[in-house]
Symmetry: C2
Subunit: 313 residues, 2 copies
């Protein structure tokens, strides 16, 4: 059988026909143009599905299901009730898609899809359990248990970005305080880097930004830290310490075989792993138990399409 995956983003729509083993057989894509009515966007998605089916030289009968990864949350009925980047509120995504294609349509969060993709065709292949953490503008996550995606009892599982890391800490966009996302995202890294730039005007971070604090981005901080700049190292180590605490909390609660780091910050590569691993606090009571392996995601941008497709497997 063949599975079609749709990675619906705020900027681009990517669609792929994917094999049982998680290989992309054919791809197609277009701009989302998110300000359009949802009906027009979903019509484009349906046309892209037909296109990849043709490109993959399979018949519609050979397609088992359509999976859609969204930057938000849908309910059991395929109703998307929260999708900030698209401005979608209560969009009947499944029902609208099934006007064009008479196949099962499965919908899940994009970070959940990435977690599934890595477990089917990426770094966590063969792991019975894994947790994927995406470190981007925000922080998301996905949980694999017994080889299957765990979306939770109400579709909220893996929202690692909104676990509380610091009681009464930095205010979060969700209305609460001290969420992981406020300490372990690219946004957080940039925020603390800007504070550092105010205190240490000779930092290499500011040089890379051409002296303009508003141009500081995560790559500049990471590059300056790799070069040994003291301010950048302080900023990055603070970030790494909070990430290590988050990883530790996941370890003691869920104890997966592997924890996978993805998203923009994961492009820091071994520098990220080497910074975080020594900061995971050891626990004397369970020192004989192995910790989950900590690894980098492997699939990059393809994870969205592959994971969405694998929802139907």
């Amino acid at each position: 059988m063949v599975y079609v995956g749709i990675d619906l983003g705020g900027t681009n729509i990517a669609v792929g026909a994917v094999s049982e083993a998680g290989s992309i057989l054919a791809e197609a894509g277009c701009k989302t143009l998110a300000s359009r009515p949802y009906q027009a966007i979903i019509k484009d998605m349906a046309e892209l599905v037909q296109k990849v089916i043709r490109k993959a030289h399979v018949t519609e009968d050979e397609v088992k299901a359509i999976g859609i990864g969204i930057p938000g949350v849908a309910d059991d009925q395929g109703m998307v009730f929260n999708c900030t980047n698209l401005g979608w509120v209560n969009v009947p995504l499944r029902a609208e898609m099934q006007k064009y294609i008479h196949k099962p349509v499965l919908i899940d969060n994009d970070a959940n899809c990435a977690a599934l993709a890595e477990s089917v065709a990426g770094v966590s292949v063969g792991c019975k359990s894994s947790v994927f953490i995406t470190l981007g503008t925000g922080v998301g996550g996905g949980i694999i248990v017994n080889g299957k995606l765990w979306s939770g009892g109400h579709g909220r599982a893996g929202e690692i970005g909104h676990m509380c890391l610091v009681p009464d800490g930095v205010p979060c966009t969700c209305g609460r305080n001290g969420c992981v996302e406020r300490y372990c995202s690219a946004t957080a890294l940039i925020r603390t880097a800007k504070q550092e730039c105010c205190n240490y005007v000779d930092t290499a971070i500011l040089q890379k930004a051409g002296g303009n604090i508003d141009k500081v981005n995560a790559k500049m901080v990471i590059d300056a830290a790799k070069e040994g700049d003291a301010s950048a190292l302080r900023v990055f180590n603070t970030f790494a310490r909070y990430l290590a605490l988050t990883i530790s909390n996941i370890t003691w609660f869920f104890d997966p075989e592997m924890i996978v780091l993805g998203g923009g910050i994961s492009h820091a590569g071994d520098f990220l792993l080497d910074s975080v691993r020594p900061l995971i606090p050891p626990c004397q009571m369970f020192e004989k138990l192995a910790l989950p392996r900590l690894e980098l995601a492997r699939l990059g941008n393809e994870a969205g399409v592959i994971g969405a497709a694998m929802l139907g497997r």
Copy 2:
């Protein structure tokens, strides 16, 4: 089939023959006398197994497996490498037990067993997913996914007591700081109550302790809070706020259908639930998603035996 469960505690050993549905058919028990050699303790356990099989009027052929709940952690081979209350280090529990009884022997943490028991025969029956939190001298937990106990990739899952709640917070017995156990256990409730007694000598807590701060216990704090004593309410509400944060973190990470509170503090009953529920911080992003149901454990002391037995189901 019949399942035998053994609840191995630091003070008592309780053994029961348990039906497929989680009902206790026959029981037996003895003192642990934990300072004895482990061989003597395990011999007693084996004799109690034979005894409950006879009392339940079943043949040994009808017994499918023996499950043992321990206050510690065992590896895949049934080797107990950490069991503080018993002083056990590297005790080959399964191998020793199988000298007497030729049945599969399954071993898991006592909090995991309680989680399983509640899901088979207690408050969380019918829930596909649940998380059990035991609020006693320490804080433990157990996770049920798809109706099965989840012990993790390395046997550590559900160690809720050692998730970090307050970075750089109160030092923990595990060698780290700010663990949940330091804020949400009976020990923590008593610690903050004693601090309060130092500041407010006219508190009802201290009256209940006969003016002797060393005699303050969790029940006195809860009783004084129920009576409306201002100091006791401050102490209990601080406790409830930390517990609510812990429940919130479990909700955003794992999103179980139900979260079950057990252990000594859960005897505060509806007063505990009514204190904690309003303190679970709402999240504007997902306000339409139902939260996990928060309930009290129902099985009490029997949970240990029933859950241990159900390990073999």
